[in-house]
Amino acid sequence: MTIFRQLLSNKKAMVGITILLIVVLVAIFAPFLTEYSPVKRVGRPHQAPSWEHWLGTTRLGHDVFARLVYGARVSLAVGFGAGLAITLIGTVLGIIAGYKGGVVDEVINFFTNMVLVVPNLPLLLVLAAFIGQASPLVIAVILGLTSWAWGVRVTRSETLSIRQRDYVKSAEMLGEPSWRIMAFEIFPNLISIVGINFIGSVIFAVITEATLEFLGLGDPNTVSWGIMLYNAQNASALSVGAWWDLLAPCFALAVLGLGLALINFAIDEIANPRLRTGGMLNRWTRMVRIGEGKL
């Protein structure tokens, strides 16, 4: 609980959470924010932003703003869905490897390191290419299955140090089953690592989904930010001067990425007090300036 209270008193976290909350609300209330359907032709091709079409229209005459607010649903769903899967696999494998040790650890560690050195995006491209036009769900699933390695590595190394603590030792003495120790003694101490892993994975999933779709591996009928980029690029939006078509999803992705990154940075500061700068340093600087003391 304290970690959540600390998050609320951290300036970076508050800005990040606010951004995320706005995107979530936009996604939920998309039908109330725009009168247009994201998949219907509602105007002439490539109209500039105007009162009728706030962010202009695409080459096919779709309303960019409508596609943007509906597209937020896909980005968030893929981001959080895949992020959850990545974190779940990474945390479970990491705790098991770190706690069990021995052969189990060696096997998990070997595969983790192997996945880490095979470049992720090229691998995803091959997978997606064979699948054909991947729907957002398929993209989320393959992201979940291929991107857990980093999480295993950090969770494992943290588990290794927690395993040595007294309360784990005493639970072992009391003969608690190892799954209980892993779930109730070790996991609660990994909360901040898991949190960082989760938000980091969400950022990764949002970016990667958009990238795969931009490269033409997504399903072109999806309404998502990545497909918007893909369509705009295919329509040579920049060279015909329809910058709104391309820049709108760019801006949305950048804002969501920034919000999530701020939350991640804040969790890092809370988990590791040495990284914290905050109020005390400001007060310290002020006191030195007015001659209350020195170093």
Partner: protein
């Protein structure tokens, strides 16, 4: 009486917090005479290391030495030194052995470079001269000059701590501060190192400020002892008085909480 090597008057140190400050050292005053072995004891977190850091002004934000505090080393006001004067003052006047024996040496530099660093920072000296001087210093602590080209990880914990002591002696400081220097070492090595310090002190004439939570060990080596409790210096007396007739209730409690030691004396005359 001669002028003290270290004179601390009304020292107040706070750790600044976002809303409230932590008052770590409260109005502490004491002196250390030339050649004296002075012990500072207390539980962990009582502010004794905070004092040690303040003498060389090694603190980092959010620590704050409050105005009105005074630290004199050889009569010089340490808190009034400019950055450049402070740099020259450090190690030449006050050298320091830190808590963790394993971790006081830079793991990526050779022992020789770590001697050279300090000699070059304080005098004009060639690499070759520095090497000769470093070899001499290592001899003082019974370490072969071959070790100069080693890296710290190639030396044992006790050896590393002796190397740190040799580096401390490089500039003939007036005062050697030892901040729990032996906590990470086993008892045998611990005794050996304190004996060595005692011999060197008599030979070279520096004073020692020795900080530990181990009062039993401290009584065996110190001339005078200060007892700290929650940032305050509650009792200062010669070692024998502290041992036989402690005045302050807290000192008595400290003794009561400690298993009686019957180890052999580290130096003659510490307790008779």
């Amino acid at each position: 009486m001669t002028d003290p090597v270290l004179s601390i008057r009304n020292l107040n140190i706070d750790y600044i917090g976002a809303e409230k400050d932590f008052h770590a050292v409260k109005d502490v005053s004491f002196d250390i005479a030339p050649g004296e072995f002075f012990g500072l004891a207390g539980e962990s977190g009582c502010g004794k290391s905070t004092i040690a850091f303040a003498v060389s002004r090694l603190h980092r934000p959010p620590a704050l030495i409050r105005k009105g505090s005074q630290i004199l080393v050889g009569g010089r006001d340490v808190l009034a030194l400019t950055d450049d004067e402070l740099r020259r003052f450090r190690w030449r006047e006050v050298a320091m052995v830190f808590q963790s024996a394993m971790n006081s040496l830079n793991p990526v530099l050779t022992i020789e470079t770590q001697f050279y660093d300090v000699l070059k920072a304080h005098s004009r000296i060639s690499r070759a001269e520095a090497r000769t001087r470093a070899a001499e210093l290592l001899k003082l602590v019974d370490i072969s000059p071959d070790r100069l080209s080693s890296y710290p990880h190639q030396c044992s914990g006790g050896m590393r701590q002796r190397i740190v002591i040799a580096i401390c002696l490089a500039l003939n400081p007036k005062l050697l501060i030892m901040d729990e220097p032996t906590t990470a070492l086993d008892v045998v090595v611990q005794r050996e190192i304190l004996q060595r310090i005692d011999v060197l002190r008599k030979e070279l004439g520096f004073s020692v400020l020795f900080i530990t939570h181990d009062l039993g060990l401290m009584v065996q080596v110190s001339d005078r002892i200060g007892i700290m409790l929650e940032g305050e210096l509650v009792e200062v007396n010669d070692a024998q008085t502290i041992y036989r007739t402690p005045q302050h209730a807290y000192t008595k409690r400290l003794w009561a909480s400690m298993p009686k030691l019957h180890g052999e004396q580290i130096r003659e005359g510490a307790q008779s």
